[in-house]
């Protein structure tokens, strides 16, 4: 970075920040220590309805049934972040001379299929054991980052239409599931009855793909050029 940095903060500001931080630290510490030994929370209610919720893992039940609306908004936030990053930058940077050796490529070839498999495993397991859509999507995103690192964005970019479809599909399926619950006579996103487990699995599957593609898109750091990988390669040669 250029030498434009502001001079180190004046001591008065540092002292004021330190004083503020100390005051907040004392207040927080006192608040933590004076919490009651056992807060009731919602444990009883959560576990009482667990069989009817469609998932045996209580965290999954909370995420995709009791508080499904929060999860819907979270998927929307993911999409928003992808839109925001893609609208502010482009991904057609020339190769930076980064050494992409055989070891990295071999590692990507070895790990990427394994990561996809692990993601599917987490997705399937998430209804009964620790796991679930976000963990699976995160692993899938990691696989995307690995492939982007190993092969360079010039060669592995998908067609932008496909990428945009994948980005939006998670939210779309989630909304459709909520609407289907309404069509079946309940309220929006109401997860009740035998269809709750099926709905959870369908929503989670779409969310896994969407989350993985979104995380890789966030790492990409900009919208891919209109022609996909070929155009990126061309731009790279021009600009590189």
């Amino acid at each position: 970075m250029s030498r434009r940095q502001a001079p180190s903060e004046p001591p008065l500001r540092r002292a004021a920040a330190a004083a503020l931080a100390t005051a907040i630290a004392v207040a927080l510490g006192w608040a933590v220590l004076s919490l009651p030994p056992e807060s009731a929370g919602l444990v009883q209610e959560a576990f009482a309805e667990l069989e009817r919720s469609g998932a045996a893992n209580p965290v999954t039940a909370v995420l995709l049934n009791y508080r499904a609306y929060d999860t819907l908004l979270e998927v929307a936030v993911l999409l928003l972040a992808a839109i925001a990053t893609w609208s502010m930058a482009r991904a057609d940077e020339p190769d930076r001379g980064i050494a992409r050796g055989a070891v990295l490529r071999g590692l990507a070839r070895l790990l990427a299929p394994l990561l996809i498999f692990v993601a599917g495993y987490f997705l399937w397991l998430g209804s009964a054991r620790p796991g679930g859509a976000f963990q699976a999507g995160a692993v899938l995103g990691g696989a995307g980052v690995l492939v982007l690192l190993a092969y360079g964005r010039r060669r592995v970019l998908p067609p932008p239409a496909l990428a945009r479809l994948a980005l939006a599909s998670g939210l779309a399926v989630f909304l459709a599931a909520g609407a289907a619950a309404m069509a079946a006579g309940g309220r929006f996103l109401e997860g009740r009855g035998e269809l709750a487990a099926v709905a959870i699995l369908v929503v989670e599957t779409a969310a896994v793909v969407s989350i993985g593609v979104t995380l890789a898109a966030l790492y990409l750091g900009g919208r891919p050029p209109a022609g996909g990988a070929a155009a990126a390669s061309h731009a790279g040669e021009r600009g590189g």
Partner: protein, 111 residues
């Protein structure tokens, strides 16, 4: 707090939050500030999960767990957008301070 373990982690979470807050106020460069916000967020999550802890046998309260999961994902989204913004700020500063050549070409390519 149900146990000493939970209290320990909750206090650590409070300390992390204060650490992140102080670094946010005092550091000048953008990447450190973004990291400071992440550290403060991690402290908040620690406090939440420590409150949900119920000891070695009873299952923990799943609702704060779900909240923290959502929080982690939202935090990474915010970090990604903030980093793109930081890149734009750096590019603009390169321009105005007359960096050699230009980090950002006329029509916005290269960034």
């Amino acid at each position: 707090m149900s146990t000493a373990l939970a209290t320990l982690h909750a206090l650590a979470g409070a300390a992390l939050f204060v650490l992140g807050l102080y670094a946010l106020l005092v550091r000048a460069d953008l990447l450190r500030r973004i990291m400071a916000i992440n550290v403060a967020g991690a402290g908040v999550f620690l406090v939440l999960v420590a409150v949900a802890y119920r000891g070695g046998e009873a299952p923990p309260d799943p609702v704060p767990h779900a909240m923290v999961l959502t929080g982690i994902v939202v935090a990474v989204c915010g970090t990604a957008v903030a980093l793109v913004l930081a890149g734009r700020v750096a590019a603009a500063e390169e321009e105005t301070s007359g960096g050699e050549g230009s980090a950002v070409a006329e029509d916005g390519e290269g960034r």
